[in-house]
């Protein structure tokens, strides 16, 4: 057990160290790298905590996709030194901030360490509620059935976010394709990668989404990989994203929550009620929703990465 304890201690110190380094980093670029490293270390922490599903999500979305959009903005953002130094808080303000952070962290530590032992848990109930659905992964069962409303609302939140990002565009850019223009380099390493990786990546993405029903994985993790496989050829300049007014793109983004909503409402007729699954048909219905959601997650994440339309409307 001591080896495990030592590993936990090392991981904890490494996470805190890289997080502190992220704040202290001299350039914004370095800060983003620090953040991504922290995220990857956190992935290990999640494995240590026995949460492999979360570890996959953290790697794909927490460190991966978030890191990509941070880098993307850093590359285009050059703040004025004078403005930043004028806005930098004074020593006293920073001391106050440190005091605030320490007291919140301290209070939290006090609260966490006095949590009851043995801890209350829904593990048993969740496990008992997984088998009737025909699923093997209790986390997926919680996401799709017991707390299905959370997942439905979250899928809708992604649509909100895409729409909000698009609506930040300049008026005359409306109808254009999302994101800036990337130059195409016919023989560059990036376009080579963008040609050979997607076939493999798409298979992996679908695989990870598919196995989610019974083992770690699922629509968010798989969808993120699919999104990456779509963004890569955009950045390499090989393909152009569809216009924001293209209804096919919009349908792709909305099909997941729409399917979820439709199956949920159908529960009024064919099952006991909203978001209830008819006995025996739970797994196929859940797989149907997961398939539609994977597509939507991929499209939504890709659009969130690309950003608002920045080029002209098609003639």
């Amino acid at each position: 057990m001591t080896a495990g304890l030592l590993l936990d201690l090392l991981l904890a110190l490494a996470v805190l160290g890289t997080a502190a380094w992220t704040l202290a980093a001299r350039s914004q670029f370095a800060a983003v790298i620090g953040f991504v490293v922290t995220g990857l270390l956190l992935t290990l922490v999640w494995v240590r905590l026995g949460a492999v599903d979360v570890a996959l999500t953290e790697a794909a979305i927490g460190a991966g996709a978030t890191g990509v959009i941070l880098l993307y903005v850093v590359a285009r953002l050059r703040g004025g030194e004078a403005e930043i130094s004028a806005a930098t808080p004074s020593r006293a303000q920073r001391a106050l901030a440190a005091l605030l952070a320490l007291s919140v962290g301290g209070a939290l530590a006090y609260g966490v360490l006095s949590l009851p032992d043995p801890a209350p848990s829904l593990a048993e109930a969740a496990l008992a509620g997984t088998a009737p659905l025909g699923l093997g992964n209790p986390v997926s069962a919680v996401l799709m059935a017991h707390r299905g409303l959370d997942t439905l609302l979250e899928a809708i939140v992604l649509v909100f976010a895409v729409l909000a990002v698009w609506s930040m565009a300049a008026d005359h850019r409306w109808g254009g394709r999302p994101g800036p223009v990337f130059q195409r380099e016919e023989h560059g390493p990036l376009s080579l990668l963008a040609r050979i990786l997607p076939p493999v990546g798409i298979v992996i993405g679908i695989y990870i989404a598919w196995v989610g029903a019974d083992s770690p994985g699922g629509k968010f993790q798989g969808g993120t990989i699919l999104a990456a496989m779509w963004v890569l050829p955009w950045i390499a300049g090989l393909v152009r994203p569809p216009s924001v007014t293209d209804w096919r793109l919009r349908l792709m983004i909305a099909i997941g929550p729409l399917t979820f909503l439709a199956v949920g409402l159908a529960g009024f007729v064919v099952a006991e009620g909203f978001l209830a699954y008819p006995p025996g048909f739970a797994k196929p219905l859940i797989l149907l929703i997961e398939a539609a959601m994977t597509l939507s997650v991929a499209a939504a994440l890709a659009c969130l990465i690309a950003g608002p339309p920045e080029r002209r409307r098609r003639a």
Binding site: V68, Y72, A75, F182, L197, I235, I305
Partner: protein
Amino acid sequence: MSLLVGAFSTACVLAGVFFFVAGTAGLIRFPDTLSRVHALTKADNLGLGLIVLGLLPLAPGLGAALKLLLIWVLVVIGGATAAQLIGAAAARDEHAMPSPPSGGRGLGEGGVP
């Protein structure tokens, strides 16, 4: 037999870890971008390759073994592309006067899952 396999695995993983450490040391110690990238990708590809090799005999089935190999192949491809892009960017910076990077160059890692 199992003792032999265990020894082989341990040796491979230890060797892999050694290459990782060496690569990281190179990343920190080498003076310029190109040699740093060189040290890192070479050592990491080799290091990961050895670790995968060490884990292969322990894989529960053919599927798991193939997945391990796939991971290595993907990392090699991703690492090679990233190294090319970083190298090209470094060369650009040396030839031209330092200029603000344009567009989305340097985002090569974006596609690697």
